[in-house]
């Protein structure tokens, strides 16, 4: 399924988490395939945001409304409480000021969906113990050539969510192959290669 639509495994999971008929803002939307799926199958309306013109061009050709903007500087363009769902998939780790982005997400949407690679995954820990920076399916970049500027573990991420005043409504733990596994669900900080968090915004104007 994901192969046909070009959706990553975490995007397949996210598309199942979005309520039918929602207005969705997808931050770091890339080529827009997640929104296309939500528009086609879930009767959603939405907007994608990214800063990569060539990726966005593909999204525009799919008929997905996309805005070429910088997540770090331009989220102020969006009105308060104007979306049902704000998605940030595999992007938080590449954002210079994640606190600001999360606060804006909570301002703009009611339900926030964040997917993140887990730096604390056991294979990553082993890589580090062997004296090297982790490289994996979820962290597929060499240290000197990566868009990622933040690394976190599931435990760090959740305490940060608590500090930021958003509620963790649901956590889906994906194994190293990007699919939810029982083991990853039991001990996510060690056994999840990545996670998808559904957060409730507590923003009040």
């Amino acid at each position: 399924m994901s192969g046909q639509t070009g959706l990553r495994p975490d995007q397949v999971i996210i598309s199942d988490l979005v309520p039918t008929g929602s207005r969705v803002l997808d931050l770091g939307c890339g080529d827009g395939v997640l929104l296309r799926r939500l528009m086609d199958e879930r009767y959603c309306l939405g907007t994608g945001v990214d800063s990569d013109t060539s990726e966005l061009l593909r999204a525009a050709a799919l008929g997905v409304p996309v805005l070429e903007m910088d997540l770090d500087a331009d989220l102020g363009e969006f009105h308060d409480d104007s979306y049902d769902v704000v998605v940030l998939s595999r992007t938080l780790q590449a954002v210079p000021r994640p606190g600001r982005v999360l606060a804006d997400m909570a301002r703009i949407g009611r339900l926030l969906i964040v997917s993140m690679p887990n730096f604390g995954y056991w294979r990553n820990r082993l890589r580090l113990l062997s004296g090297h920076m982790p490289v994996s399916k979820d962290l597929p970049f060499e240290w000197h050539d990566t868009p990622n500027v933040r690394y976190s573990t599931v435990a760090d991420l959740e305490s940060w969510f608590a500090e930021a005043g958003v509620d963790v409504l649901q956590r889906i733990s994906l194994g190293g192959r990007g699919r939810p596994t029982r083991a990853a669900g039991l001990a996510p900080n060690l056994l999840a290669g990545s996670t998808v968090h559904v957060l409730g915004s507590n923003w009040t104007g």
């Binding site: 929602s22 207005r23 296309r36 528009m39 309306l45 907007t47 800063s51 013109t53 060539s54 966005l56 061009l57 525009a60 050709a61 799919l62 008929g63 997905v64 409304p65 996309v66 805005l67 070429e68 903007m69 363009e77 969006f78 009105h79 308060d80 409480d81 104007s82 979306y83 049902d84």
Partner: protein, 408 residues
């Protein structure tokens, strides 16, 4: 992150070939054109051109709205001329606005001087040239004339309305006031509301014309002279705003027109020669009164300035593509962002791109691949994938004015 500016590339394919401008009468005493000002015109002729063929279903028409000093000749070549229409690089077989698919209509603006009724036309009531007696016109009057031309051509609904600069403003006004007559709108390097600086530039241009002795309170049309000095100065000034500082630096730097400095007050630097040339050539194709009337229309344009501005289009949504250029300081990206905020805030499907270009406002006339690829992709989205819906979840779905605008 530094962005690589797009470079100019050659137009694709052979273009649309020989074309001619035609005339249509779209208002007569039985069907006068009611203007926003409250006045009306009993006789309106429109100059227009078309490229490509209208499909039997009449569903492949694309309307091109021109900028301040453009005309109906958007693409192709007129008999006996070598220079193609003003937007030839984007219109033609295989080009971004592909005439193998689309039936393209381009017309000259009401108030213009290239075939459409304007201040230089004859007032049928008096038998005299209109001059300053020509009524005040509005962006919306342009759109009404476009729609009358569409009716004349038998087109009820456009696949898209496309325009750059003031053309983008017409596309925006059209989409807000007659959304049932178009599916898609492309708004390039435009604005929904001029800034004080924009108005200031327009004002100086108009003053240059009006204060020229030969303007003679607009009566020059009856005399054997014309405020050419004023008009050329207005054009020179405007040209400074159409290019970016980078473009001026790249194009001219501080080089001297005649190889070495000729100290004095005449033309010496290459940039002075360029402006002088732009001012001179403009005289052969534009009229001072048209310039005054048309620039004034832009000053007053503010389609989001009233409550309920987006009500009609929310009820019958149009898909939008808003494009700006990073070095444009005539209508900077902030202008396009304002348009996007209003449309996105109303829940409408809108895409927005900032194209990296070193050419400033004039970029909208150039073939820059990312820009043209985008226009093509947007126009060619398959019918089943065009959104055509507005989200009720959006805060300004009810059409009230965005209060955040006050602070910006």
């Amino acid at each position: 992150m530094t962005r690589q500016s797009a470079s100019r590339t050659e137009p694709l394919g052979p273009g649309v070939g020989r074309v001619e401008t035609r005339l249509a009468t779209v208002a007569d005493p039985d069907h006068p054109l009611q203007l926003v000002s409250g006045d009306h015109l009993d006789h309106v002729e429109v100059a227009y051109e078309t490229y490509g063929s209208l499909s039997p279903e009449r569903d492949n028409a694309v309307y091109i709205c021109h900028a301040l000093t453009g005309d109906a000749h958007a693409a192709g070549i007129h008999d006996g001329e070598t220079k193609p229409g003003w937007w030839d690089n984007i219109i033609g077989p295989g080009r971004a606005i592909d005439t193998d698919q689309w039936f393209v209509v381009s017309s000259n603006l009401l108030g213009g001087c290239s075939g459409t009724t304007g201040p230089t036309s004859m007032n049928p009531a008096t038998g005299q040239v209109w001059g300053t007696a020509f009524p005040q016109i509005d962006m919306h009057d342009f759109v009404e004339v476009h729609l009358r031309l569409a009716a004349h051509l038998g087109i009820e609904k456009f696949h898209a309305v496309v325009g750059g600069s003031m053309g983008g403003m017409q596309a925006l006004d059209w989409s807000l006031t007659h959304p049932d007559t178009l599916d898609n709108a492309v708004i390039v390097a435009a604005s929904s509301r001029l800034t004080a600086q924009n108005i200031a530039f327009s004002a100086v241009g108009r003053e240059a014309i009006v204060r020229d002795r030969d303007f003679d309170d607009g009566h020059y049309l009856d005399a054997d002279r014309r405020p050419d000095t004023g008009l050329s100065i207005a054009r020179m000034l405007a040209h400074i705003t159409y290019l970016s500082e980078d473009a001026f630096a790249e194009k001219f730097g501080r080089t001297h027109q005649f190889g070495e400095p000729r100290r004095g007050f005449g033309v010496d630097f290459a940039v002075e020669s360029y402006l002088d040339h732009q001012g001179e050539t403009f005289l052969t194709r534009f009229d001072p009164l048209s310039y005054i009337y048309l620039t004034r229309v832009m000053d007053y344009f503010d389609p989001f300035g009233t409550t309920g501005a987006t009500d009609l289009v929310v009820a019958d949504p149009v898909n939008y593509l808003v494009v700006c250029f990073d070095t444009d300081w005539r209508f900077s990206p902030a202008h396009s962002r304002r348009i996007v905020r209003h449309l996105e805030g109303a829940g409408l499907p809108v895409s927005f791109f900032t194209i990296a270009s070193s050419w400033g406002h004039d970029s909208f006339l150039m073939k820059l691949d990312p820009y043209h690829d985008l226009v093509r992709a947007f126009l060619e989205v398959p019918a089943g994938r065009r959104t055509g819906r507005a989200s009720r979840r959006a805060p300004h779905h009810d059409g009230h004015i965005c209060t955040r605008e006050v602070d910006r």
